[in-house]
Symmetry: D4
Subunit: 249 residues, 8 copies
């Protein structure tokens, strides 16, 4: 509740600058955010220098451009996830400084170029080469939000020595995102090696009884390492965003 | 790799204090943790003043006491989760300072009494009264690990004004654990209200198509709030532990 | 049983205008609805000024036109759901007054133009922009059946303040249809805010563990708000129709 | 927003009975319900003459009595669902006027005895004799909330003539609740016979591939009758409550 | 075991027409069917005047023609299920007398034209118009195997009076095949009306929680009518074949 | 439609024995069964010498006795399925001629003692010894309904030679009921050996991924033998009843 | 086909020692196993010195003793799996040399005491202490069948260094059985470390989304290590038996 | 730990050829494989004369060629699974000696041509013609790894005599791979006929309730034959590789 504003209304009423009805009306028509409810708006922090995020999958390039136009016109930046080069070329015509990360399948339009503002390291680990698009979505998202990010890809449990070769890197990270499909075992192994939080991202990589990522998801939820939390299948953006706000702490 | 120790071995060999065979032997018999692999042991941090954790469900009181005896004899503290008063009475006879948290269904035996060492607040929010045992497991766990913890219980989405009454508390937390069964909607609502990380714990509370917590689990994994990560059904301990290591950052 | 018709048969028999055999035969060949079983025909109410409904998905434009021709030739009106502009252009050639609602993906051909006959308000609420086609199917259906309809779109639980801004609208509705995909939490929140019946429509919007709407469906079935009932995934028509008959009461 | 109260605060401030700080403070400490948010409280309508509802399953008789004590001390009435005779005898000692409906497995304690206040008929239809407890929970709930209720039990689709014998009863109902386990076909058949809303309640009655009510639930969600909406498995209370608020319209 | 043949071998050996080695060899090389195991060959009855059956789905027209060529060259007739007009035109060039049933999606090539040899009636009932391809597959299959077949289509439970209009037809059938998607309720209703066996065929018709026929399948397995047995989703051929061998009894 | 009765009404009206109103009234009040609807009652054939069937599971011995009393008082016989010796002793006191089949877990009370009236053989085949209770339920049911029944137990596919030893028995059966748990493979093998209809009964025998019979159920539905139809898990009664009506043909 | 026997029959016929009819009869009455079909009997190899196996779960001690009596009377040995001390005490009275392995929950009665006959090593690895009963069932089974067996327990992936400490043991094994519940990741890690075959046994250990071993099962089926094959949940016996026959090669 | 190397480092340090820092550094930079961890690298054995394996599905021909280039440049051979003729033509241009097995959908590039080095027979059995691609993947894989392989195709349980005709072949195999879709019964039958290990491969062949191979998978996991282990749906390569390492024993 903005005490200053409230005091002004009371004083204006007392002084006669506001009738009683007008005072009540002003109180009623105060935006909810001025009545102590302002912080409900969880989008505000994102808008402050952070781009807005648009889920690109299933939207046409025209639809995406129209949404971007709206965001930019409001002074916001814009991120599009799950997109491709065709969309990028369409958007590039209107927004010359749009950046396309092909592997992450993301487009970013922002005024302030990405620069590392946070000190902790976010490490993105992935099991197989097919998991890389989701891993890149996570890594690039974390970079956009100003984090220092390292990648450690293709270190699946079938050749676990590749993971142990980089144990120092694992231990130097503030937050680790582990991306894996198939049996989804990697987050448990990584979680057992480090002390910090591990965000597990199951991917839809696999076939047969992988059920488009359900097996990896279930395995991660049942991790015997207690420092593992899980996000939705293929949700690289969510993992990158969550790692970012943990790293901010 | 403990360089100091290695140097000492080399120098002792050079100086003749160690024969070559003894030097090699000492190198070989160094605990693996001294050979660069030491940090693999993820239990070490827990053991440093932190109690060991025993999943009590399905174990007899005799089995539990025997495991505790082992831990204590090694100088470790001990936590038992998913336990009850009968077990507690049995253990109490041997360990006078054992503490039982009935709602959390946990027993703790430790030398250093719990005291708050970390500054950030961990808030534990639960939807219904039936979710409280899991919420208490999370809250008590976080307390054991030295965190400042607040509880906000029975604020389910069907009476969401109860949640909004405490919006200042929500916003002052460093990490929020949200515990809910049935439709599992609360983490999404809380996640939309705050900027920090939300750890969602589905509970097996419900009936019919709640499928012992599966519905809540799925709902949480599909949260439209990007700051939500999920742990296993009824995994209060995991949520408390994870919140603790995030809060430590 | 149409007493008038029956009396006429009896009298015609008595007067000799009908032989006994012809009387019996006429009785037998009366449409079943004239033999006391008429009320079984649940289509009758629909046909009285209401258009017939055709599920358009998976039918060719030729098939749809043929079915429409049949309906119109019987004096019925016609609604096609799950259709598109290509079908519409095909039908438009034969039925000049066919109306196409692009967002609702519906075509309507009727003699009496839609006009509001019922006093109560049906409010259609949707969580995300991707849920709008289903929401529009519900809203347009309710309009076709003569209801006053308002829309409140894009008020998902991650930004729940947008919902609270319109709490007066919520409370003024006679029946509320809530359309949501992903975690399907919105019906529970809306159900907790109002006293009247809420019809929840899960949508197939989402990815990964949303399982094409199953997660939303389960969440809605487990709603902790007791005024929520659920229809099939993406069944906007059913929700609109059901709201209409509740509003008629 | 309680305008009267607000006006009083403004006037007291103006007149000097309240300092500016006290006026602001009073504004701040107004219960949220006095700040325009009051209608959020969905429990209020229930409490007005309606008993509070407690899910009895899994609670001890001592816990239930304690919750009832709290409710009664606040002036509320109380309903316990999913309970039994043992609990009833325990509660009866404290509350002499507690009423136990054995078939519905419900206990009710209320000041105003149940009397029919609403004119429309709620009809509860059930498929088999094993479905009766859930059907009775629905019927008794609707009666508690002041509705005229009729029962039509054991009219499953395998002997569908029993249903047709009572077609007049079906057609005279304002709302119909249909309770069925096994293949869950009855709501579709009833929905095809009547024009009004049908609330389908799947029950966990069956064996093998009935999966404790999942089959009946799925069948009801896929009903080809568009006037059918579904609640959770065995949720007789929800159906009775929902029918009641529809009948109130 | 063909005693005559065995006796001949023994006698030929005794008479010197066969050496001992040749006698043993002839015994060994007797087709397994001559050694008492002949009736194992379940294809024999089918081949006697009945066409062989090829599952056409997923096979190219070239592959199908090649399989047909093989069958015909062996003197067998041929049925192709799950096929279309394109395949038919390809096959027609080689087999002028190939018959295509477009609705059943089947091609038949046979020497003896279909004629009714069995006296009992097989009735094929279907719920909706979308179920007709599966129903036709069943009906046409039964016709090919020499049965008298009647169709009763579009008599779903939402308009159950259409079914009752034809109750005489239902009761005159020796075996009834009931084809239904969505909630799969029709077999239970039909099963309750007749005394004979009902073969239920779930179809993949429906959307959302119909799960491509799983809901209908489960409903049929849980039928409260004890004269209902179930085949796989969309398995019209199996139902037609099974009805045929029951009708043969 | 009973033409005779209708004619009488017309004639009585014409002759003046019935007023027009009374004629109409009589027409209206004809029991539905007199209007061509009589044969809807599917219980009638069962009651003609056949006992009524009560699902015993989950019912107390007192409840079962009460239901039996009702049936017997109406002149019906009675079968109880899924029952045990305790129930039997309770019922025996009232009904001296009650027969208990311990393995089939069934009680039968009937006037006409079981005697074989049908010529065809029903063969009941089971895979393992644990499947015998379900197999016996099927076999005993078929015997009660007057069939000649043979048993062939413990011939599972892991020792398939035991099945082949009895191939003559398999081939002499008119209908075969195959009962199997675990992988549910036996009906396919049997179906491949015989020409007649096979009714497959999955049992809940197994552990782990047998999912209480779901695996066997699915395997049976996917049988590559086209003469196999399936009933619900553990539904021995249904299989026996269905085999009986097929054998009656 | 036993040529020697056949020749004897032919010669006896030729020499007149057998009439033609007797020769044919002898041919017919040869046990199927003498007609080339003998090796179908897969139980024979087991019976040669190997005990028969009885699944003890769900059988009473009396039933088990009766089955054992039968086996012993036929000269076979006997193994009971999934049993306990109560059963053992009962059996011990009749069979003094019965051996009970409490952890493996198995009873063995055999003439030849277990001795190692095979040279290769079978290693049984388990993830957690709760998996030990299943691991012991596998290990003890392999021992009974004459294998050299080593155990490596409690080496789950959360503390993977414990596994690496014993890498020499892993590499010296001929076959490795890996037993794990929860996320089931251990077989993938072990499979990546060794060259030989790995038999993965999922256990029902876990809670929540472990679904009684389904998660572990799925994870193991999706192993990225190609040398992993899987048996049913908790099937320690199967794994031990299969390892034994692989080790025999 | 390579003692020789370690001694050399110590001695070089003592003799002054290495400074202390350099000695420590050399110790640190020893490849992990020289520190006792070398055998972790499970890829080494494969690379010794065995080709590397690339999962071709979902990769473009350009991507596949690039991966092959890398492998070949490292001196490895290459296998591509799940590929087709288009990819082959692309690769053929660069690698003239690339071999394409169309049915197995595999490409192999290797220096040493395949020749049989192992004496035991691997038999690949398949149920239906649609299972052949997966069976060929298994058979061809086993051939590439130097095994003698026989095929026995189209011997499904519906015509089980075809299997018994080849019982000698079944019994002569060292390892049997059984490939089946639909009800997945064949591995149980084969497992009951032979003594050796059976590797079961479920295929996605089937429709309706086959759920893309899940039914076959479950049936195989529940095999009553204890010598059956299972790999993922359609995982022909894994079965061939596993059979190969078992055959190597």
């Amino acid at each position: 509740m903005q005490v200053g504003l409230l005091k002004r209304i009371f004083e204006d009423y007392k002084s006669g600058r506001l009738s009683l009805d007008d005072a009540i009306k002003e109180l009623k028509t105060l935006p909810y955010r001025d009545l102590g409810f302002a912080r409900v708006d969880n989008h505000r922090p994102l808008r402050k220098g952070y781009p807005e995020v648009i889920f690109g999958q299933g939207k046409t390039k025209e639809q995406l451009l129209r949404i971007i136009d709206e965001l930019i016109s409001k002074g916001s930046d814009a991120i599009v996830t799950r997109t491709d080069a065709t969309v990028y070329r369409h958007i590039k015509r209107s927004y010359r400084d749009a950046v396309f990360n092909k592997e992450a399948r993301m487009i970013v339009i922002r005024k302030d170029k990405s620069e590392i503002k946070k000190t902790g390291l976010i490490l993105v680990v992935s099991a197989g080469t097919s998991d890389i698009p989701v891993a890149e979505e996570a890594a690039f998202t974390a970079e956009i939000f100003g984090n220092k990010v390292e990648r450690l890809y293709d270190v699946g449990v079938a050749g676990i020595h590749r993971l142990f070769d980089r144990i120092d890197l694992l231990m130097s990270a503030n937050v680790i995102i582990v991306v894996a499909g198939m049996e989804g075992a990697l987050p448990s192994v990584v979680g057992g090696l480090v002390e910090g939080p591990v965000i597990a991202v199951p991917t839809s990589v696999g076939y047969g009884a992988s059920f488009n990522g359900v097996t990896a998801l279930l395995a991660m939820l049942n991790s015997c390492s207690s420092n593992v939390a899980v996000v939705n299948i293929d949700n690289g953006f969510g993992a990158g965003y969550l790692a970012s706000i943990i790293n901010r702490k």
